[in-house]
Symmetry: C2
Subunit: 275 residues, 2 copies
């Protein structure tokens, strides 16, 4: 409904909140000819502290909504916790890309000593998604994972250059560092916002890995190019809860990219019947 | 459905998550003859970062559910963010009690210099609920409010005796302390979990206020006693998302009280149609 007038073929990007905008940023640079619709489930975030079955329910509801409303060329799940619960490569007739596989591929490229750390939400760590996929591709690899629940609220507080953030990053990373990892997967799309603090806590010799560029390669290799040139590119943001705080965060996370609109959407739960 | 076999008249307590168990604790001590059903909306927590209209929608949906399923003697909203959006004293034919009014009454009793601080979620601070109600009762009072989004995840991380928590409490409180407050309302039901860190950051001369005992007085003065004695008292906990982490937290927050059951419930949103 909200998206009838888009000029080009659309990529639909889904996240539990706004952290996925760090992924959208990479996509925008890599696919200048596509329109983008980003749906952030801000009314129910965070997913990372919820159970796998709830996360899957929410994710399927939203992917279905995006397919029905937009008929997109591709679905991108820009949320690690959601990615762990949607294993399909095609869903509701559309190609779907997650952020786990590209992170896994990149970490395996980067590591020299085969010791890889994963910092993520509790749901992502508990799902064992990174651990299993890394070891499936390279059984030589040792994986050390830690849940870091405070990093998302720290990123949203904008304390990214703060000594308290450095302390907390170090607290979470210390058990991984003592294992001798040389590569750290930032297994939550909020974490690149805190990249400097994380790098400081790790020291300069550890590779920090995010999904962005590998994800773009995956999409390029399996989605046909859209050669039709039309009006200026559109970037629409749909949020299930809209307030001034998250509007501000949208603009600051997308930096130079101009947002066409930020709209509130209602996924139609049955509280409508009550009100 | 889940609650047909309760032996006594029921008080239904609603919170966005598990912080309201600090309120339930006071109620359990004060009303030994009542059964209690506590509903935590763990699938959609936290409410404190969401907009007022979304919080009201969720709250009404849950209050309706509790009335339909339990026919309780009283509804207690043990969540400040939800309390700011439900102003009614009766709803769906039942008496409803919030945690704002008792906190306001107690702070006004405690203050000597009429300078009161409020530490709360962003939604509660933005609603102006504490500020307006304090000043309505005593126009001489000055209120200084601050949003403290990191305190809920810190409480849930169980870092309540941690130097990092002291630092963060001090960071949030410092602007209020420089205004010379002598009383601080802990305006979120999670905050009493961090009481020691907050008191340390405030210094010993500042009164920390929570709703508990005043809330019990409010209920006592308006709900009739239930004199029928039956089987042992029941305490049921219903959660919209259930995982091992929040089960653990239930037991640790209710301390000596024995929980009859912890159950997962589904509020029936339309993702059921999809799956």
């Amino acid at each position: 409904v909200v998206c009838k007038n888009l000029g080009r073929t659309v990529f639909a990007v889904f996240d539990s909140g706004l952290g996925g905008l760090t992924v959208l940023r990479s996509l925008l640079d890599e696919f200048p000819d596509r329109d983008f619709v980003y749906l952030g489930d801000t009314a129910r975030l965070p997913y990372g502290s919820k159970s796998g079955s709830t996360i899957r329910q929410y994710s399927l509801q939203i992917l279905k909504y995006l397919v029905d409303e937009l008929n997109p060329d591709a679905l991108v799940i820009a949320c690690n916790s959601a990615s762990t619960q949607v294993h399909e490569s095609e869903i509701f007739g559309k190609k779907v890309f997650n952020v786990i596989d590209p992170g896994v591929a990149k970490a395996l490229e980067k590591t020299k000593n085969n010791k890889i750390g994963v910092l993520a939400t509790r749901a992502t760590v508990d799902s064992q998604a990174y651990q299993q996929r890394l070891i499936k591709i390279n059984p030589e690899v040792q994986v050390f994972a830690a849940a870091a629940p405070l990093l998302v609220p720290l990123a949203e507080e904008n304390w990214d250059q703060d000594p308290i953030t450095n302390l907390i990053c170090y607290r979470y990373l210390q058990p991984l560092l003592t294992q001798g990892i040389d590569t750290l997967i930032m297994g939550c799309t909020h974490y690149p916002i805190l990249r400097e603090s994380l790098q400081r806590a790790c020291g300069p010799n550890i590779n920090l890995v995010e999904a962005g560029d590998k994800l773009c390669q995956n999409i390029k290799s399996s989605v046909e190019e859209d050669s039709q040139l039309r009006a200026a590119r559109q970037i629409k943001i749909l949020l299930t809860d809209l307030n001034s705080q998250n509007q501000k965060l949208c603009h600051s996370l997308l930096q130079a990219h101009e947002i066409s609109s930020i709209e509130h959407i209602n996924l139609k739960t049955n509280h409508e019947e009550i009100l």
